[in-house]
């Protein structure tokens, strides 16, 4: 064990830091849940990619830097420290990208990855359906093979970023006789295809962060199938693995929230201490964010050395989503009567972006597999309890 960065790792950190210092926009971008904000974020992805910082873990040949997981964690630390914009194409670069590298054909990789990397094509997810939420194997949307095309019919929902995205990926039932996990196929669909209707769903903040997608005899070339026909479930499971989870929610994000919470508390100490529980909650936020960082590094080091990830990785999503929620709840308590005010409201002094974060933290225990489903997985697969 040696808990110090190597010279090479430190040099990498310096390089990331100085590039970000020169390139991160001085003014925060508008939210990507508006048309203008989406455009700004797409532009930022192109800027990142021009410096080969778009996706540092990707191979050099694909515009990445071939970084290992520790370098990825360092990159993220610097990225969040610099308050760089959120990643509008996260569904693409963090989830679909690595899956494409594993299951995609050479033609698919060459056609899709470069445009994904520079933000030219932004991706939405198409997993859930009205009757297939936690029970994803209940998917009913169909893709019927006709020659070199699939004809897609059905409906997807809770599709994040779909309002302005260019493509979506998801699972469709290609074998009409099949049930549950069998007979599903992973297909990539251009969202400008004839027969597609995207209906925005306003979120808690009133903005259309996700959408329903209706498919009415949508024709998609078989070239857009990822993996074999009928093998969709196993391709999709690869998308949900630990490393992908790490990409999506690395510790840096929560450590920065914890740091801002400590600042908020110390700046409002007199009023905050009227509720004795607040100080403890702030302390706990710091400890848990730190635990999340330490545990992630330990796992990343083990994986770097060829270790395998086990069922214990299901604890990850519960830990960060509940941490995020409790940190924001604590911030709301500290803000008191100001907590409900929108940032531009005249009486809102020093409220920062806590309200936005609080709203978003409500979604954490739900998306990417509800925490109840995660708890079942932990009990059955990690602890070996009876089904």
């Amino acid at each position: 064990m040696d808990l110090a960065y190597t010279e090479q790792q430190q040099a990498f950190r310096e390089e990331v830091r100085s590039w970000l210092a020169e390139n991160v926009p001085a003014e925060p971008l508008q939210t990507f849940d508006t048309a203008e904000g989406f455009r700004q974020h797409r532009e930022w992805e192109a800027t990142l990619n021009s410096g080969r910082w778009g996706m540092v873990t990707w191979p050099q040949a694909l515009g990445g830097r071939g970084c290992d997981l520790i370098e990825w964690l360092i990159f993220e630390e610097e990225y969040y420290r610099a308050r760089a914009p959120l990643r509008v194409n996260q569904n693409g670069i963090f989830l679909l990208g690595p899956t494409l590298m594993e299951y995609g054909t050479e033609e698919q990789k060459a056609r899709i990855l470069p445009k994904m990397a520079n933000g030219e094509e932004v991706w939405a997810q198409g997993w859930s359906e009205p009757n297939a939420g936690s029970d994803m194997a209940a998917i009913r949307s169909t893709a019927k093979r006709e020659g070199d095309k699939y004809i897609i019919n059905g409906q997807k929902t809770w599709s994040t970023r779909a309002v302005w995205a260019d493509w979506c990926f998801g699972m469709f039932r290609t074998d009409p006789e099949s049930e549950r996990h069998r007979g599903l196929t992973f297909i990539l669909v251009p969202l400008d295809s004839p027969g597609i209707t995207v209906r925005p769903i306003p979120q808690l903040d009133g903005l259309p962060g996700f959408a329903e997608i209706f498919f009415d005899n949508v024709e998609v070339s078989v070239d857009n199938r990822l993996g074999d026909e009928g093998a969709g479930w196993s391709v999709a499971m690869a998308t949900a693995g630990f490393e992908r989870g790490l990409m999506l929610r690395s510790p840096a994000r929560f450590q920065e929230t914890a740091r801002r919470l400590v600042e908020l508390y110390t700046a409002n100490r007199e009023s905050a201490d009227c509720d004795p529980a607040v100080k403890d909650a702030v302390l706990r936020a710091y400890l848990d964010a730190e635990s999340y960082c330490l545990t992630t590094y330990q796992t990343a080091c083990r994986l770097n050395k060829g270790g395998k990830i086990g069922a214990e990785s299901s604890t990850n999503k519960i830990f960060w989503s509940e941490l995020d929620q409790s940190m924001h709840a604590t911030a709301m308590s500290i803000l008191g009567a100001r907590a409900e005010l929108l940032p531009h409201a005249p009486a809102a002094q020093g409220v920062g972006t806590w309200l936005d974060g609080w709203l978003f933290s409500q979604s954490g225990p739900i998306y990417a597999g509800t925490n109840e489903v995660q708890r079942n997985i932990i009990a059955e697969r990690m602890l070996g309890m009876p089904r």
């Binding site: 064990m1 040696d2 808990l3 110090a4 960065y5 190597t6 790792q9 950190r13 520790i70 360092i74 993220e76 630390e77 610097e78 969040y80 420290r81 510790p251 840096a252 994000r253 450590q255 920065e256 914890a258 740091r259 400590v262 508390y265 100080k279 403890d280 302390l283 710091y286 400890l287 848990d288 730190e290 635990s291 999340y292 960082c293 330490l294 545990t295 590094y297 330990q298 990343a300 080091c301 083990r302 050395k305 270790g307 214990e312 604890t315 519960i318 830990f319 109840e372 995660q374 708890r375 079942n376 932990i378 009990a379 059955e380 990690m382 602890l383 070996g384 309890m385 009876p386 089904r387």
Partner: protein, 348 residues
């Protein structure tokens, strides 16, 4: 950056675990409750033969010369079986203190500890009582700002019974003139190091205790049937157990980081130890609570083994610094002006 243990460290852990699980069974622990001393000299001798009593004793004094980092995984295994013998105390607290004192004391006592022939214990005023004082040949005791070394003949002991029959606790009066072996800043440094090492020992054992309580409860809830099914198949029961697994999983790395910080003498070691003790003991206390619930009324009985581990977890949470002590230390560092927090600060 390498946050992994070596193959050797992991193999050592595995072999110690096998030994302890075979030897230190709940039956043997219960048998110890019926004896005067509650301690098993034959077991101590076995531990000495495995090199464990001398694991942190310098090689020059007949030990293995290992560090807190080498021992932390073994301390987890001591927790897993709720080992009543003072192995964690010896390896993490008593031996390092004697080593740092050096001179005659070290030369006399360390080889005997490694051979399993002598037991030395450390008593801090914060702990109110001294663990295993009744079997100690030498007691290193805090008396205000000073550290005194008293032999068994120089002390009068009064047993303070614990709810955990395996824990043997004593108030110690130094009857004869025992020599002061450290004072002033030297004594302060020794005592604070002992405090941190003792707390690390609690954290590591808490991890093992939590895992043992999970294992016992998974087994129990897989066998016990109600409504025609094993009760472990009900989600309410599963989620109790999953909640422990989450807290336990995220308490491991902080504990290993604390062991590393102590072993290499990092400046922020005290804070790392407090972090580890808080989260590991919380995980063990949650395990005690939820496993007790999942056992139903059986968990409330003397007969079922769960309480062996539950009571030890409760005790460890409040010794070598309770939550208030450790939270205050963390608070002091994170609420200080200019504290290094946030992304990138953890290993800086």
């Amino acid at each position: 950056m390498d946050f992994t243990f070596t193959e050797d460290q992991l193999l050592f852990q595995e072999s110690v675990r096998d030994f302890l699980v075979n030897e230190v069974t709940p039956e043997r622990i219960r048998a110890g409750w019926e004896t005067d001393s509650g301690r098993d000299p034959a077991l101590w001798q076995q531990l000495a033969e495995l090199g464990l009593t001398g694991i942190t004793v310098p090689e020059a004094h007949g030990g293995l010369g290992m560090t807190a980092l080498d021992f932390v995984l073994l301390a987890q295994e001591c927790g897993y079986v709720a080992l009543p013998e003072p192995l964690v105390h010896t390896a993490l607290v008593a031996v390092p203190m004697l080593t740092e004192l050096g001179g005659e004391l070290a030369a006399h006592w360390l080889p005997q500890i490694a051979a399993g022939e002598a037991t030395v214990v450390v008593g801090l005023e914060r702990n109110l009582v001294v663990e295993d004082a009744h079997i100690a040949d030498l007691l290193l005791l805090q008396r205000g700002d000073e550290l005194v070394a008293a032999t068994a003949e120089q002390v009068v002991l009064q047993h303070s019974e614990s709810i955990d029959p395996s824990r043997k606790l004593y108030t110690v009066e130094v009857a004869a003139a025992a020599p002061t072996v450290a004072s002033g800043s030297q004594s302060a440094a020794l005592l604070s190091a002992a405090q941190d090492r003792g707390a690390l020992g609690c954290a590591a054992q808490a991890l093992g205790l939590a895992q043992r309580m999970i294992d016992l409860t998974v087994q129990y809830t897989s066998e016990r049937q109600q409504f025609g099914k094993p009760i472990g198949s009900f989600q309410a029961v599963k989620h109790h157990m999953a909640n422990i697994a989450v807290r336990l999983e995220y308490a491991k790395a902080p504990t290993h980081r604390a062991a590393y910080a102590l072993a290499v003498g990092q400046e922020r070691a005290a804070q790392a130890v407090s972090h580890a003790k808080l989260v590991a003991c919380e995980a063990a206390n949650l395990a005690a609570k939820n496993c007790h619930q999942a056992h139903g009324a059986m968990g409330y009985t003397w007969e079922v083994d769960l309480h062996i581990f539950m009571k030890k977890a409760w005790a460890l949470a409040n010794t070598w610094g309770d939550a208030g002590f450790h939270k205050s230390r963390v608070a002091e560092s994170i609420f200080a002006p200019g504290a290094a927090l946030g992304a990138g600060a953890t290993f800086a």
